[in-house]
Symmetry: C2
Subunit: 645 residues, 2 copies
């Protein structure tokens, strides 16, 4: 094999070292990456320097030969379509029976190739006789426990590590996704998105689309009902009943759809075979499942940390945050009373004095939020989750609770304790404006401008743009991928306003629909052109976000019945009842609605029948294989016994 | 093989024909039972007449040779302990590696042998060239669709079909279970029960025991708190909070324990591979899973029947039952007013007149209940469930809802609408007395006496008792097995009183504990000596009874907070608040309790970690087997291709 062949490969992944990385270390990393898979326990990949005028020798690109990628695909149990059959785990020896295998270069998707390299990088260790990092003799390593990436991270030698975008694939995708008028109303091709970004991102877009369509009937009903000449009570309760049933059915159907997608993408049973996170640590032990050595951390320690460190600290943070909020309310009220519009001060002076508490509160709560986010990440790291999904679910849950309390505590307080509808309307309006204008800007328009600016800068500093390789361009112009967390949070916040207050303020839903039709395309653009490509990550559902939405829709029943009960027009409608009876009627109604929600949850099966059949079929097949394997083994054993005697 | 050997086998199952069955049909059944498994599509079992002076030639006993049973065990995927390993599906070719295989006669449990015969009976068809029943030429049959049992049932030819009790096994079991003083306090040996009765019955006893122990802390707390000199409010709310947390944790731990038992008994994944019920009908189609022909009934038809026939009819029955109840209340009140104790009539006369409505109500509701039970069975049959578990769950759910409404509607009405505590206490007391005295009698003591009586009768009619075979004796003296349904219902009813009203009436719990310690042993006696043995039925949990208990404990939160709020002493404690505030405080408290329940449900995992590991391990093993099988196949295919060329 010529050295030339080893250098001119298709780059798949970019690794940028920080500028302080010694040359020796870089050479060592390349050697480990390219070392033979079997002999030197290397990754068996291809790697070369990608020199650019600015970053010098700090960037390497990584690729792999097709044969190496196929081995990786078999190891990762990647599923491919079998001829005349459904998805089947890929096996090299069986490659001829898979669809598209006559064209081996395109057999694996680019995102799959990148994922294979990524998994390989995560499990790459130093050679077993290496005990210090070349170039950094003071850094001692344990070749068995430390992976190469752990070591480089702990030395802060990695500046960036990301897979490369593919312009042709994006061109194919963007027309139907966001680049045409037609795309604004046509459904997304979710399978194309999954093929390019992986299941994790695809589930986000699938959910956003599904959720947006689910909003439409609520919005239409909320709009039309205004023109119907019936009593307020009837309007509100119809809307409320409709919302309860509709959103429960929606969440159940979404679960159904999720399972169908996961089944089509072959990730439905992936959950069981998930490999430990690379950051999971513990004593190496033989795994009872795979019989290979895997780190093992005692469950009781994990639980101890979770229940006695994480949860109490979270509670303290919540209390701090609520204390700050209520103190702000108190100070604001006192300030308002101290500076009345009575002419002793000018209008502007009063307004300015009154703004002080708000400013102080905003500054303080911003700090608390930032620190809480750091603390949550630290605590979840510290819990040492074995699986990536469990790590993410726990982090999401922590952030979700805090976010929920912070975001809606004000609205709750105003709506239910102060019964101040003016304030609620004002707060809702201002929050939606903040959401649309400020968040949209920081989220989408901001990065876009900064990207433009960077591109311009780049073009100025390096006039020969054409000479720049694709990888250097992407490193310079694209922002690091942030994960889907922030995007889910945006939908979640919106759903919060829609679900919790929609019976009384139906216009929120209409705003949300309009916003989401735009948001979906803006996000699509962002993922394609603003951020670097993420590594494809297998997923089988949207994780704890589902629970978060589910909890929110239960809370929504409580808030909506309460809001309806608090409307003066409704109270008037029930004027023949006294206060106690009136409250009991609404409490009873709330319980009936909760029971309806529960009954619907119960009645709709989570897994659609055909997915269940597919699953049992696979199980049955492998079960049969195990039986025949055992029969064969015994037969051979008997043969060998009889031949010996 | 001598004919003698075929006649002198250990009888396992008894089949009694009705007296009108023609001899020819009986001979035909025996021929089908004993016909060769492979050649004549027979069951390959052993069968002989068991003649008795009374029943004549109407009874046959069925057994099987060991080799036939082992084949059946392999077909049914019965799991046995593998040497140095956990439970593994039994394979004849691999028998040497199983524990206890050096002693082949005792390798299979008797209950397993009986289950194998039972499954064989259920799938036994007429020979493919038989188109009418011998002895009943008018009865046309379709050999492919009708099983032998279906045909016999439709002709009403089967009087009894049951497996035989084993006196030695019972003797071994009873000492530690109910026959000694020690047994009253020692835990049951649930595995022994499972080995004898099968998983279905074992789960009932496991649940009853678990539930009884769970009652103990509630009973103790409810008793001790009476002596604590604090306010009523504090007592009640402590008890209520404790109950919410305790019962939620209990239900979750029970789920955990269920999964552990199912894993130890090898039924955890049985659910997926469950075979269709023998009564399931539909067009024969190739099963997508096993690739064998199985009946198939369209899902939409099943759903249509469920949602548009069963559910509406159930609603109508509920409405009828409630109408009857409220009319009874009205008439009772009117009668009470019409016949006051004012001296115009004697005390006895008044009492007698006042009793008329109650008697009428009891008679009427008894009829409604009976008919509803028939209707529910008919409707569930009509829904044509594919699986036995789904059939049972649907039947249980139907009966549960009706039962719940009937049983507790009166208490609810008295407690919450009439706020009549005297009546609630009276009702609760009378219901408990009815429960203990009347139900216990009809359930346990009644059958016992009738059994005694029958035995005596038998001894009189046939003086030479020693000559009677075991099978004839069991047929004559034991009652047909009724299923666990009635027993679960008894616990459920009791849990209803305990959960729904315990915060205010803690003495119910104490009664329940005492009752259950007795009930468990009485039930054990009943299963061993009063009823015929049931066929062992695989189970992995207690089915929809779990949901029933879970729903009840949610409702309990609502009723308990309401009951506490309605206590005059508690109202007095909150006398500084007005009525509206008072209600809102309790509504808020109720919501907090519901949230706590939800959070606990969420936090405790359903499947214990070690069971999950065991499960994934099995999956991984069979998955690996499938991979290596596919590799081998390809290798062989390649070899055959190269050898041909």
């Amino acid at each position: 094999m010529s050295s030339d062949e080893n250098k001119n490969f298709e780059p798949l992944v970019v690794l940028q070292f920080s500028s302080k990385t010694p040359l020796e270390t870089k050479e060592w990393v390349i050697k480990r990456l390219t070392a033979n898979h079997n002999e030197d326990q290397g990754a068996g990949l291809l790697a070369r320097y990608e020199t650019s005028p600015e970053s010098g020798d700090n960037m390497i690109v990584i690729g792999a030969k097709l044969s190496r990628l196929l081995i990786g695909a078999e190891e990762l149990r990647i599923k491919k379509r079998y001829k005349n059959k459904g998805l089947t785990e890929f096996l090299i020896s069986d490659i001829d029976h898979f669809e598209n295998s006559e064209n081996p270069e395109n057999f694996l998707l680019q995102s799959e190739k990148q994922r294979i390299i990524w998994e390989e990088l995560q499990t790459l260790h130093p050679m077993s006789n290496e005990h210090s990092v070349p170039g950094v003799p003071t850094k001692m390593i344990s070749p068995k426990n430390d992976t190469l990436l752990d070591i480089l991270h702990s030395l802060n030698f990695i500046a960036n590590l990301f897979p490369l975008h593919d312009k042709d694939d994006i061109k194919l995708m963007e027309h139907d996704w966001f680049k045409s008028i037609r795309a604004m109303f046509a459904p997304q091709d979710i399978h194309q998105i999954r093929n390019y970004f992986g299941e994790n991102v695809a589930f986000y877009f699938a959910f956003l689309e599904y959720y947006t369509w689910a909003l439409v009937p609520t919005a239409i009903l909320g709009f039309l009902i205004n023109f119907w000449p019936v009593s307020d009570f009837f309007k509100y309760s119809l809307l409320c009943l409709f919302n309860v049933i509709w959103w429960t059915v929606f969440m159940e159907l979404w679960k159904n759809y999720t399972n169908r997608l996961a089944s089509q993408w072959g990730t439905l049973d992936e959950e069981m075979f998930e490999r430990p996170r690379s950051l999971y640590y513990g004593e190496p032990q033989l795994s009872p499942i795979t019989k290979k050595e895997e780190p093992y951390y005692p469950l009781w320690k994990h639980r101890l940390k979770k229940y006695f460190i994480s949860y109490p600290l979270m509670m303290i943070c919540l209390i701090i945050s609520l204390t700050i909020y209520f103190n702000y309310c108190r100070i604001q009220n006192r300030t308002d009373a101290k500076y009345p519009f009575d002419g002793s001060l000018t209008f502007i002076q009063v307004k300015a004095m009154r703004m002080f508490p708000s400013i102080g509160y905003s500054l303080l709560i911003g700090q608390v939020n930032l620190n809480y986010r750091r603390l949550a990440t630290f605590l979840t790291d510290n819990e040492n989750h074995r699986l990536q999904t469990s790590y993410e679910n726990n982090l999401t849950a922590k952030l979700f609770i805090f976010f929920f309390v912070n975001c809606f505590a004000g609205l709750f307080y105003q709506a239910f304790f102060m019964a101040n509808y003016g304030n609620v309307t004002q707060l809702l309006t201002s929050m939606l404006i903040v959401n649309v204008v400020i968040l949209k800007f920081t989220e989408q328009i901001g990065p876009y401008i900064s990207k433009r600016f960077k591109k311009k800068q780049l073009a100025e500093s390096v006039p020969t743009d054409a000479h720049l390789s694709n990888s250097v361009k992407q490193l310079k112009t694209l922002l690091p991928f942030q994960g889907t967390y922030g995007d889910y949070l945006t939908i979640f916040e919106q759903y919060g306003y829609v679900a919790l207050f929609s019976a009384v303020f139906p216009w929120i839903t209409i705003c949300a629909v309009i916003n989401n039709f735009y948001e979906l395309r803006a996000d699509a653009f962002k993922y394609c052109y603003v951020y670097r490509r993420p590594f494809a990550q297998p997923a089988w559902n949207i994780g704890s976000w589902h629970s978060a939405f589910d909890i929110l829709s239960s809370i929504a029943i409580v808030t909506n019945t309460a809001l309806i009960a608090m409307q003066p027009s409704v109270r008037h409608y029930f004027s023949s009842y006294n206060d106690v009876e009136y409250i009991l009627i609404f409490v009873a109604a709330e319980h009936v609605l909760l029971a309806i929600k529960l009954a619907i949850d119960f009645a709709i099966p989570d897994v659609p029948a055909e997915v269940e059949i597919e699953r049992v079929k696979n199980l049955y097949e492998s079960n049969q294989a195990l039986r025949s394997q055992r029969s064969n083994k015994t037969l051979q054993a008997q043969k060998s016994i009889t031949s010996k005697h």
